[in-house]
């Protein structure tokens, strides 16, 4: 096994035992990026020099003994960042030509925390520009390809992060999820994706898409790794007024405690039984969980509600890119950004606000209440991530509505502000990955990890890796 193929937990163990150094680990990742990024297009920026320098520093720290490790929990681990995360001195493009040459003068809180935890920033990953997209095709730096079949989409908008983790270009990668942008690519690329509770992880320094929906999470090879990363990123931030002062527990602590007695709800509106294998449901029952049929009656309005609130906030958040300060005119916005700016500006305009935005906010309350009611009966809810398996590049690109409808099972968690963990659950007949999500009440991440972990350990879907072949450059 190559070093870059390790999980975070395995790599930490190896580093601790001095089986290898962070420099070696980082070099293995960079070698993998160099080998495959041309085809996959997972990275917009690779920080080879900076990463190696950082790795060297962490190796020096590590040589000072194990005492350090408790305080520096990710010491030496190469992590990739979605290119929405502001990084001091590393260009941050948001996947858009508008910010093609933007160099932030500060680090996002999450980036600061990851650095303080000893993580090595290996590069900035590709995405649908500004986070606008479900397929990864909307990047101004070219689409990311699905590592399982390069003719297919990897899912978006955290497309590069998912593809990079799936192809072992890094050990974990950050993402943002406004309507499914972590969970969809995770499920399309056969990796684990966590969308935490709204406000659990600081948004400070992460280029905003829709501020009331943006949730900051990550994509990893295993559920345990997801818990390890959340241990570092979660918590109140004095720079983000929407992060409550709420204790961060060690999310790995109870991960192996089992799921006996846990009540799992299957919402009829999510078509769960058609989308998720009955054998999967039986696995949970075999592990001692109770399966209960439930209803989330306002689900059918979720996409409509989401596509009013989200563009409204987008139109306001993108106003600052006014052509004066970032050196790029507004006509450089891509089609999708322009579409959302127009939609949002329209729905917020005088005379339309009540009919659209205000109405949507009322529907949002109903959707949130659906979940609150459901969680009185069940501990978690099981649902598919995407209504379909990954599709071929280009097949939905010209039909925004079709594209929007692919978010049908993911937007509800964002509207309700609840956490959701996406885990691999098998493959389509074309051999493309499928994921399912476990949704819990606010701040129930610990429970989600527990369930995800047991499912993962039982099925082992996450261990399947895409076969990567390198095209010979000279035939």
């Amino acid at each position: 096994m190559k070093l870059n193929e390790l999980t975070i937990a395995q790599a930490l163990e190896g580093l601790k035992k001095k089986q290898f150094s962070s420099v070696e680990l980082t070099k293995a990742c960079i070698a993998q990026i160099k080998k495959h990024n041309r085809e996959i297009n997972a990275f917009i920026t690779v920080c080879e020099e900076g990463a190696l320098e950082q790795a060297k520093k962490t190796d020096n720290l590590a040589s000072k003994g194990d005492a350090f490790r408790g305080k520096i929990p990710l010491l030496g681990i190469p992590i990739a960042l979605k290119d929405l995360f502001s990084t001091k001195g590393i260009k941050t493009t948001a996947g858009s030509k508008v910010l093609e040459n933007y160099m932030p003068p500060y680090d996002a809180t999450v980036v600061e925390k990851l650095k303080a935890a000893g993580a090595v920033i290996i590069g900035k990953t590709n995405l649908d520009a500004w986070g606008h997209g479900s397929s990864g095709e909307n990047s101004d730096f070219g689409p990311t390809k699905n590592p399982w079949n390069k003719a297919y989409v990897p899912g978006g908008s955290s497309s590069g992060s998912a593809a990079a983790v799936a192809t072992d270009m890094c050990l974990g990668a950050t993402g943002t999820d406004t309507g499914g942008s972590i969970r969809t690519p995770a499920s399309f690329c056969n990796v684990v994706g966590l969308k935490p509770t709204y406000g659990r992880v600081s948004r400070y320094g992460i280029i905003a898409m829709a501020s009331s929906l943006d949730s900051i999470g990550h994509l990893t090879k295993t559920v345990e790794d997801a818990a390890l990363l959340l241990n570092v990123t979660a918590g109140n931030d004095s720079h983000d007024a929407t992060t409550p002062i709420k204790e961060v527990t060690d999310y790995t602590k109870k991960i192996k405690d089992g799921i006996k007695g846990i009540k799992i709800g299957l919402p009829k509106e999510y078509n769960v039984k058609a989308k998720i294998d009955s054998s999967d449901i039986k696995i949970f029952q075999d592990l001692g969980a109770e399966i209960i049929d439930i209803s989330l009656p306002h689900t059918e309005y979720a996409v409509a509600c989401y596509y009013i609130i989200q563009p409204a906030e987008v139109s306001s958040n993108l106003a600052r890119y006014d052509g004066i300060r970032y050196g790029s005119e507004r006509q450089n916005f891509g089609e999708e950004a322009k579409r959302r700016i127009m939609l949002g500006t329209y729905t917020l305009s005088a005379g339309y606000y009540d009919a659209y935005y205000k109405k949507a906010m009322q529907v949002r309350t109903l959707i949130r209440e659906d979940f609150i009611k459901a969680y009185k009966k069940v501990d978690v809810i099981l649902a598919p991530v995407s209504p379909t398996a990954p599709w071929q590049l280009g097949t939905k690109a010209d039909d925004p509505l079709k594209m929007y409808l692919s978010d049908i099972y993911t937007v509800t968690a964002n509207l309700a502000g609840i956490p959701s963990l996406a885990v691999p659950c098998g493959f389509s007949k074309e051999g493309l990955p499928i994921g399912m999500q476990i949704l819990g009440p606010q701040f129930s991440e610990e429970t989600l990890f527990k369930i995800g972990y047991f499912y993962q350990e039982t099925t082992g879907w996450h261990k399947q890796k895409p076969v990567m072949r390198v095209k010979k450059e000279n035939g």
Binding site: L84, F85, S86, T92, A94, L99, Y102, P104, P105, Y106, A108, R203, Y204, G205, I206, I207, A208, A210, S211, S212, S238, H239, D240, A241, T242, A312, E313, S315, S316, L318, A319, R320, D322, I324, R325, T345, L348, S349, A350, Y353, Y357
Partner: protein
Amino acid sequence: MDGEIMKQKYEPVIGLEVHVELNTKSKMFCSCKAEYFGKKPNTQTCPVCLGLPGALPVPNRTAIEWCIKIGMALNCDIPLESKFDRKNYFYPDLPKGYQISQYDQPFAMNGSIEIRNRQKAIRIRRVHMEEDTAKLVHEFGNQNAKIKDQKYTLIDFNRSGVPLVEIVTEPDFDNAQDVKEYLQKIQQIVRYLDVSEADMEKGMMRLEPNISLHVTRNTTHGKNNVSPVTSHLLPSYKVEVKNINSFKYVEKAINFEIDRQAKILDEGKTPVQETRGWDEKKQITVSQRSKEEAHDYRYFPEPDIPPFEWTDKKLLELRGQLPELPSKKLERFIKEYNLSSYDAEILTREIQTADYFEEAITVSKDRNVTPKQLANYIINRKPDLEKTLPVQLVQNIIAASKTATVDEKHLEKVVQDVIIENTKAVEDYKKGNEKVMMFLIGQVIRKLKEKVDVNIIKSEIERNLK
């Protein structure tokens, strides 16, 4: 036009928006220093007040509490629920493309404030919190070849994000003088609260009146063919005037605008609804923006800041922190210290003077110096209160009166005698011949056995002539 005729034909309808910059330590949504006056441009900035990608606002608690205190001082209701909203518009001084302000749930609403010469109090519609914009500095010509002999504009972000409280009145004013008095009151109150210096010349207090003229019903000037309106209806247009940057020009700008509109109405036309700017050099208002270009601000709740919920306990605590306000203090000074309203008004104009006066009273107890003496001394002699300790002041008064301990009753009797004996001189004085005062003082001195401070005699005569 002739002011009197104008008054008969038209009644000005004036509402005010007053912006007050708070003197908190830090800005509204970040920890940059809020005090920017005279600072080197763009030295007090951060990702938040520069509106950089990813930056988020975190509200300044102190600023919000001060805003609520202003609301309380203006007799407003303080709703238990409040929130921030985004006001979306483009302008180079607004780095985020929106201003964080308050739309439908301001921190304070439905207040009122009394001003002299008015039967009805001025109604306060709302008091809300927002952030200041950056400052545009317009320049001309430069060494730089690119902008040589050209106009250009620089942006100073030191002001971006400074806490700003907006106080909006109902259209309850009908003349410029009252507006000026209202402004002075607002200035006095925020200074009493110690939340702003409210210096207009430094831009810490800004006035935006909206002005229109209401055609009174019984106009006899038929040639103008202006259709009469019923008195409770507001005019169909209003003109907002910006850039009044000095107390000096408040009345001038408003009166200019009233005259301008009256002339248009005289021609049988309706003034255009627009925003005009006061041109200090030319002493006129000039059109800046017409109704057609009016903004649709696309307000919506600020998602980056959770809404606020106050408890009665918290509001009570804030109310408890309010100082005695000018009007209350004035009333008390008259009652408690037996001062004329004129004296009390001068002493309470600034809280520092009032506090000084009361400190002096405390130290003068058992020393045979009356509040009235203290008041006279402070008002007439105008000692430098910053350099004179109250104890010192009291000592000075005692020293001055050692040669002239006044039997106040005796003095009063002598003054009254002199007034009765010199009816002609008194009449002349009342007609405005102030020179006669010296004659009256001389008469009093002649009748008094002891030597008395001329100022004390003078004020005693004045008091008796009121």
